[in-house]
Point group: C2
Chain length 368, copies 2
Amino acid sequence: MQVAICGAGPSGLSQLHAFESARQNGYSIPNIVCFEKQTDFGGQWNYSWRTGLDDYSEPVHSSMYQNLWSNLPKECSEFVDYSFDEHFGQPFTSFPPRTILSDYIQGYAERNNVRQYIRFNTVVRWISYSDEKQKFHVVVKDLLKDETRSEEFDYVIIATGRFSTPNVPYFDGIETFPGRILHSHDFRFAQHFHGQDVLIIGNGLSAEDIALQLYKYGAKSIILSYRTKPKGFKWPDGVKEVPLLVRIDKESIHFRDGSSHTVNAIIFCTGYVHHFPFLDDNLRLKSPTSLYPADLYKATVWVHQPRLLYLGMQRLAFSFNIGNVQAWYVRDLILGKFNIHNINIFCCCLIHIDYFNDKINKFKKFFQ
Amino acid sequence: MQVAICGAGPSGLSQLHAFESARQNGYSIPNIVCFEKQTDFGGQWNYSWRTGLDDYSEPVHSSMYQNLWSNLPKECSEFVDYSFDEHFGQPFTSFPPRTILSDYIQGYAERNNVRQYIRFNTVVRWISYSDEKQKFHVVVKDLLKDETRSEEFDYVIIATGRFSTPNVPYFDGIETFPGRILHSHDFRFAQHFHGQDVLIIGNGLSAEDIALQLYKYGAKSIILSYRTKPKGFKWPDGVKEVPLLVRIDKESIHFRDGSSHTVNAIIFCTGYVHHFPFLDDNLRLKSPTSLYPADLYKATVWVHQPRLLYLGMQRLAFSFNIGNVQAWYVRDLILGKFNIHNINIFCCCLIHIDYFNDKINKFKKFFQ
């Protein structure tokens, strides 16, 4: 049996670890291949100075900026069986810089002996399913050799992340704006905006984070434009929240409350979209990002073809943990330890809920 | 017979015009479909305020900036049977702004009645060839409907341009540079660099052009770093040429001649690469950009599968004209007016050379 995993970020690595630990415990496992377009594992946590396209003309995967620190307590991004304490040999701050998280992921991968399964510098070009052969036809490109080839698989696991393809909505008149326009995906250094008046569109996690970075690095003023409601934080001087913009007229931004401001740059902090340009239509998750994406049984199994599995597509902060849980579930499904037709859905939902209640309680305690 | 054309820029439009004019002259023509991922024709000349990915998460095609003026005399970018004088009804400056060229291309397309053949907002995902069926299998995605579908074709013509996928080489230490780094593909407004010291890597056409834009819009200093030799122009004060950089250490750029300079931003004007992520390996042009790309008979016919044709892949300034000439050649080849096995290669080369000699003489006269 042949299994393909697309992506060697936290979820893909969890999947490899799940299979490798079964093998080490004496189980017979399928032939596993993990395709990763980057030169190393880590997915989103592989920082790149590049924006737009990477050195092989593929879209840059990472949305990290140089001075990013985790904007969630690291306890929310902990693999189930590999703690930060174990990795670093000592307790560690809850909000570490990105290099620490990257190091932790590297440690997880190396400790679990999964490098052997990964074909780096290999991008997945096209996946289709043949009803006749009952196989997935997978076309990949070896970026170093500049060669494409195709292989057949019985199962395909999609673990390509959900923070790489920016959502950049159009606003009336934006084509007349002469300043810099970028999405947080392409944000690398806050000092580019030193002395500037900056508009941030959105007020989610990236918006908060980048607003405070800009403030620290000397932006002159920062306006956050929200769609639904303001955060209402006690922002530092020079940072304020206004309703959504309605129109742009050169440097002037006009907002829903009738106010207008002149800015030098616009940063979209408007989130990401699911994007799977390598999947045939009958395999492709089309749901917008949500807590329970449509057509995914247990947010994992593609209902139209249950041998296609998706990891980490839920809109949840606990992305490492959910990938972990899903990976073991997917492994046991593929190893035939249970059959999804027999399973008690309600019971499994409870397991999920228990798991997350436990995490959420830890999270709450943290802030007490 | 089914013919697919990929791209509705100047070359794709020439191809459509070639077929449509045959039809209007009473010839029976094949079923023609042109797939264009943008919302309108014009290819490279469709300016976009976006950088990186477009509104459907596809790589932005155009490399134009807001205030771009043609850096070639318009006489070099004239369609064979549709002059600028005819389009505008009067003589016109030789170096017009991009909007004028865009208008001219629109006029060419509308006059030639080719809109009927084009499926806009449709990106080509994957093309393979079946020896068994003797057909191309073409998978496209309708971006508006968010649906992929596949169709079969007897001929495929690639006209997706060669100025969209940036070549961005690595330089030692670039990941330590805290300023803005971009390729000319993502350059939109020179005023972003007002008051800044800017390094331009390269000294070709884009480099010249962007250096002078930066100068006009108040950059503090501009350094052009050349690989082979300096242009040696009488540059304005504040613009100078230095040899290639060898190392970057934060803001300090070290050059081959031992000199070093501190800059705020780096703009790569290092050209473009061929990139056809939608083509199977046995169909994909792998040659670097050159005057005569490898494996293309007459720079047009894919020697490994002569029913695959490429337009405008030569490294020539006369890109509109060459696309024009190739389009008529391709049309007559597909209509069976000649057979490439019988043709006198030497004779055809002479036709090309005569054609270009004529253009080059006009070009020389222009500067006399």
